[in-house]
Amino acid sequence: MTDRTVGKVVSVNGPLVVAEIDPGREVMQNEVAYVHCQGQALKSEVIRIRGRQVDMQVFESTAGLMIGDAVDFSGQVLSAVLGPGMLGNIYDGLQNPLALLENNQGFFLKRGQYLPPLDEEKIWDFVPLAKKGDRVKAGEYLGEVTEGLFGHPIMAPLALSGNWEITEISPAGKYKISSHIARIKNQDGQEINVAMKQEWPVKQPMRAYRERLLPDKQLLTQCRLIDIFFPLAEGGTACIPGPFGAGKTVLQQIISRYAEADIVIIVACGERAGEVVETIREFPQLEDPQTGRSLMDRTVIICNTSSMPVAAREASIYTGLTLGEYYRQLGLKVLLLADSTSRWAQALRESSARLEEIPGEEAFPAYLESRIAAVYERAGVVKLHNESTGSLTMIGSVSPAGGNFEEPVTQNTLKVVGAFHGLSRSRSDQRRYPAIDPLISWSLYLRQMEDFLNLRHPEWVERVKQTHKLMADGHAVRQMMLVVGEEGISLPDLVSYQKSEIVDATCLQQDSFDPVDRATSRQRQIEDFLLLTEMVRHQFDFENKQQARDQMTRLQNLFFQMKYSPYQGEKYTGYRREIGRMLGKEEAR
């Protein structure tokens, strides 16, 4: 583009601004434009073009705008800047580093201020991995820098098409992210410089890999209810819908801490600032049990809280996904947590209403379904050009209006995810946390990962299904007891109810504030669950209900004490032995 398109504001309606451009000038859908207002340039994005009228959503407050104010079109679509130095950062939805804004602006976020997302001055130790004359494609590794624990590969630009040849590559040494570390050329003789940082349009999926694979390995969250009953796959997707107060956020926080991922990206999308503050303030002090470093070293937070501009809220999920895809290209196991996708959908609804589009269900736009599907489809496990794999797993929380799962966002999300962890008000009212309701939740990965899970134990999946069925049976008995009382049910029914209560209390429920119980390792999950299923399968021989109650209460207490005892400690093995004795075995296995 020779010179840039400019325009003038002709209409202002909340964050929606219409500009008129000169006839014959070019403008691109999703192009970034800057609206000049009282000496500030407000970032905005083109969302509709009708003749010379260009509709833009402004990522800031539009107070003070005037008809006739100038608009500059950048010629670029909304992009994220990718490269070494993103870890540990806290960005807003447009990838502005909030910590740096802090120094400049005091308590409040003033509008019209944009800072580079990466530290341009930081020096990195670069080591080349490729050599002059090598042929490369988009996303292939040219070299590497060390970022914290990781070797952070420097890739050939992800946007390249076709084969390129390295004509120059820098020797090992110290470079800044904008320094050119290589020069490459294609068959047409076109030659470009490669820097350590690069840009990628946030709304476009990154596809610089060899192939996508079927997710068949488990991503461990250390939350028993998820890992055992409704497991998550590396590269899979899950959604957590729940009414307010059901513990969505606590669950997300727990997962973000203990999940066995290399990189965790937290997108706080339209939720309370207070929740993000806990993460921001606590993560630097918490130790990542896998690496011994601060949890913040593996975390990126994208934070567009509920009172920050709505248009940027829409962008925040895409920014998070783009960062996630980038790390996947580096061969890492990435987990993205989006809280909450309902707020993102509401942002779509707001802009759709301003565009006066014909509304669909509950006034959400008709394209809600395809947008949700496109977001979740960006997750996945891929084989990279160098044969290694990388994965991006996405967990989105949903905040359904009135706690009713029949609403459009929940329903359209359920269509595209692989696991559904539905939180229920009744479980949270009973303080049974995490309040994932085992009777409504499901995971397709239980079957998809059967071979992998059965490495834990040959009958693993079968036992999980059996125990899951017990939960349903126990619930049915409980319903019956509410009507006919305990006297009205048979002894075997009472026993299966008691069994289901033991499973619920000692396996499903997990105390997120207890230092032992809050995270359960893979090995401990295996041992504890197998012992539990011994109990589930055991044919108890009780003479009457009183004996059944007494024995089962004792058993429940033993399991309960065991779950709070440190793994393989003296107490732990003691309780195990005692449970084994009660089940008529010397040592349960």
Binding site: V9, Q105, A273, R349, P359, A401
Partner: protein
């Protein structure tokens, strides 16, 4: 040069459209007609058409009225002189006192706080309402709604908290208040002698609808300034459902597509923009918000309480004249209980609620005609004492006193091994028989 326009081309609901140029979005204007004048604010620009919402309503506005643009957005005077004063929904004094012309003006509805400059809240605000202090304590920077059906004494509760809470500044935002309610607030604050630390922004039910929208912003803009200056501010709002209804009315007049029960799609963001002003500033003061949200039809899934519940950090339910002990929840309470407050606080809280739940079961059991056991009598006794000493809104005691009373109540009704409290706490706090 300030120009006047007198070509109003459209009047719909409380929105007027006037042809004008060089006008900024959000700018204020005055609309002057036969003997009446009102403020108005620009809410939309389309070519040379300027849409304004008229604070005093459009009744009686004629197409020939004079519109004068003031070249600045909505502002509120700010300073210590605000304390003890009462203003209406457009920020004008309604207590007969002087207009505060000499004070600096601040803009309302300012930008949000950088999340990084927030800190994890750690201050306890004592309200001297035991159901709040003991069971769901209010934490500085918290935003909590009081969900109540019409007819519940929510304003009485709010007034009590306004009188007794240990905050530096209390700001009351009355939205669609009945005039009687306003007078009750004023009288209670006067009688309690706390008027000097109180500021009131009052919109009464008979005032124009648009002014309702301004009240939370006025109250919170003032609160924010006091907060930055290091004051601990408590903002009381009543009733946020009336605020949401005003949003609905304006949205419909602007031909916006409604999303749920006629409310605009932006309801969540609009409410969040206000509630998120609650903050604990690093190295300065704090803003705590307690807001009444009446539930139409006592239905918590109605869009207003539902969206509110997702934004706020817990909720109080006011049912049958008392703060409901089971559904109410202060999500931040674990940040202060036993840390800022006395060590036995958490134990008393859990034990008393558990026993109260049990005594409710006993009441139900007896109501169904089962026989009464001697044990039941003790639970009934406990239930009555719990009501009289804790639930009743008239009870006015501080936290420490309430905790002592809790121990006393437990000791009167139960033995130490029945209450499920750690032995070391029992040893230290269980009242000795005289």
């Amino acid at each position: 040069m300030i120009k006047e326009y007198n070509l109003i081309s459209r009047i719909q609901g409380d929105i007027i459209t006037v042809q004008a140029a060089g006008i900024r979005n959000g700018e204020l204007a005055t609309v002057k007609g036969q003997g009446r004048s009102s403020l108005a604010q620009v809410i939309r620009l389309q070519g040379d058409q300027v849409f304004l919402q008229v604070f005093a309503g459009t009744r009686g506005i004629s197409t020939g009225d004079q519109v004068r643009f003031l070249k600045h957005p909505m502002q509120v005077a700010f300073g210590e002189a605000l304390l003890g004063r009462i203003f209406n929904g457009s920020g004008q004094p309604m207590d007969g006192g002087p207009v505060l012309t000499s004070l600096p003006k601040i803009e309302i509805g300012g930008p949000s706080v950088n999340p990084i400059r927030r800190i994890i809240p750690r201050g306890f605000i004592e309200t001297r309402v035991p159901m709040v202090d003991v069971f769901n304590p209010l934490v500085e920077s918290q935003k909590l709604p009081i969900f109540a059906a019409a007819g519940e004494p929510y304003n009485e509760l709010l007034a009590r908290i306004g009188m007794r809470a240990n905050a530096d500044v209390v700001i009351l935002g009355g939205i669609g208040l009945k005039y009687d309610e306003y007078l009750k607030f004023k009288n209670s604050f006067e009688q309690a002698g706390v008027l000097s630390r109180t500021i009131m922004f009052i919109h009464t039910a008979s005032d124009p609808v648009v002014e309702r929208l301004l009240v939370p912003d006025l109250a919170l803009a003032a609160a924010e300034q006091f907060g930055v200056q290091g004051k601990r501010v408590l903002v009381l709002l009543s009733d946020m459902t009336a605020f949401a209804d005003a949003l609905k009315e304006i949205a419909i007049s602007m031909d916006q597509v409604p999303s749920n029960l006629g409310y605009p799609g932006s309801l969540y963001s609009d409410l969040a923009a206000r509630y998120e002003k609650a903050v604990d500033f690093e190295g300065a003061g704090s803003i705590t918000i307690l807001a009444v949200t009446t539930m139409p039809g006592d239905d918590v899934t109605h869009p207003v309480p539902d969206n509110t519940g997702y934004i706020t950090e817990g909720q109080f339910y006011l049912r049958k004249g008392v703060v409901e002990p089971f559904g109410s929840l202060s999500r931040l309470k674990q940040l202060v209980i036993g840390k800022v407050t006395r060590e036995d606080h958490g134990h008393i809280m859990n034990s008393m609620i558990r026993l109260y739940a049990k005594s409710r079961e006993v009441e139900q059991k007896l109501a169904m005609g089962f026989d009464k056991t001697p044990e039941d009598d003790r639970y009934l006794d406990y239930s009555q004492k719990f009501y009289r000493r804790f639930l009743d809104l008239k009870v006015d005691i501080g936290l420490e006193q309430a905790l002592d009373l809790g121990w006393q109540t437990l000791a009167e009704c139960f033995s130490p091994d029945e209450v499920g409290i750690k032995q070391e706490m029992i040893d230290k706090y269980w009242p000795q028989k005289k």
